[in-house]
């Protein structure tokens, strides 16, 4: 098994020539405070206005208080009535950290393909990381390969050449890497530590154009 670190820098084993440039907008919802009318006066009034008292389903951080949004560099515009709506920006230079999935679904080399496929389906994911008997990363497998694996162990059909990224990698570089390397996921590592996984679905969630 080999892990190839992908990046835009010279130190990366696999270099991406051209990060994918983009500026995207996320329409974010949540729950406005009861009876919250729009505040006048822009951000100054909003600091103790209806946005500040709302709960926002932030795609980066989970459920947060609207007061947190008012200090967020990604917030561009907002309204609270008739329903809470925020327009937040995403750009190619943002790191993958907020978008990767930590605790990625995984299986082992000895698991049979149908069982692994059933597990992936139950978790609603397309890719699984594969660990060996020493619980070290051994490869990656997708449900397409699992479907053709019949009753064989995952370890016999998985991809053992794994392309990975570091948490500081930008969304633009990650998107370019997936496109150029024809992969649908990138494990996120820091040295020997596995921190998470970034999939094409995560990039879709972030509004990265295909």
């Amino acid at each position: 098994m080999a892990v190839h670190i992908v990046g835009a820098t010279g130190s990366s084993v696999v270099a991406v020539s051209q990060p994918q440039p983009f500026h995207a907008v996320l329409r974010v919802g949540g729950a406005a405070s009861p009876g919250g009318a729009a505040a006048a006066g822009g951000a100054a009034a909003a600091a103790d206005g209806p946005l500040a008292s709302a709960r926002v389903a932030c795609p980066r951080k989970g459920c947060v208080a609207g007061s947190e949004c008012l200090d967020c560099v990604h917030l561009q515009a907002w309204r609270t009535a008739p329903e809470l709506r925020l327009y937040c920006s995403v750009e190619d230079s943002e790191s993958v950290t907020a978008w990767m999935r930590t605790r990625p679904p995984a299986t082992t080399v000895d698991t049979r393909c149908p069982a692994a496929d059933e597990f992936a389906a139950a978790r609603g994911v397309h890719h699984l990381l594969v660990f060996d008997r020493l619980l070290e990363l051994a490869g990656v497998i997708c449900r397409c390969d699992l479907a053709h694996g019949a009753g064989r162990p995952v370890g016999t059909v998985m991809t053992t050449d794994v392309f990975a990224i570091e948490p500081s990698t930008s969304l633009g570089v990650a998107a370019a890497a997936m496109r150029d390397l024809h992969v649908g996921c990138l494990p996120v590592v820091r040295g020997p530590l596995l921190l998470g996984i970034l999939t094409r679905r995560d990039l879709d969630r972030a509004g990265v154009p295909r």
Partner: protein, 104 residues
């Protein structure tokens, strides 16, 4: 059916430009954008906006029928143009744009 109001967004920050364009299209406006003064001047001549929504850091194009300023900072001193703060309260922005249209 009334033709859509045309708004030209002038902002050197691409994230703000993209977000404002999308939210104003969501509200039914026809939108064009520019990232600097010369481009804004060219857009003004070809797009013929009803209102120019411009960041206070970027000069508004000459000959704009109505101008609304926006900024992360307080209203620029000495400016009489309608003003909205950033991040933008959408309802306040729409009220300000409609007010600017009435006073053209």
């Amino acid at each position: 059916m009334r033709p859509a109001t045309r708004i030209l967004i002038v902002d050197d920050e691409p994230n703000a430009r993209t977000a404002l364009s999308e939210l104003l299209r969501d509200e039914g406006y026809e939108v064009a954008s520019a990232g600097d003064g010369p481009t804004a001047q060219a857009r003004l001549d070809e797009f013929h906006p009803d209102v120019v929504l411009t960041d206070a850091q970027v000069p508004a194009p000459v000959g704009a029928p109505a101008v609304v300023l926006m900024s992360v900072r307080p209203r620029p001193p000495g400016s009489a143009a309608p003003f909205v703060g950033k991040p933008i309260d959408i309802d306040q922005l729409l009220r300000t744009v409609e007010g600017a249209l009435r006073h053209r």
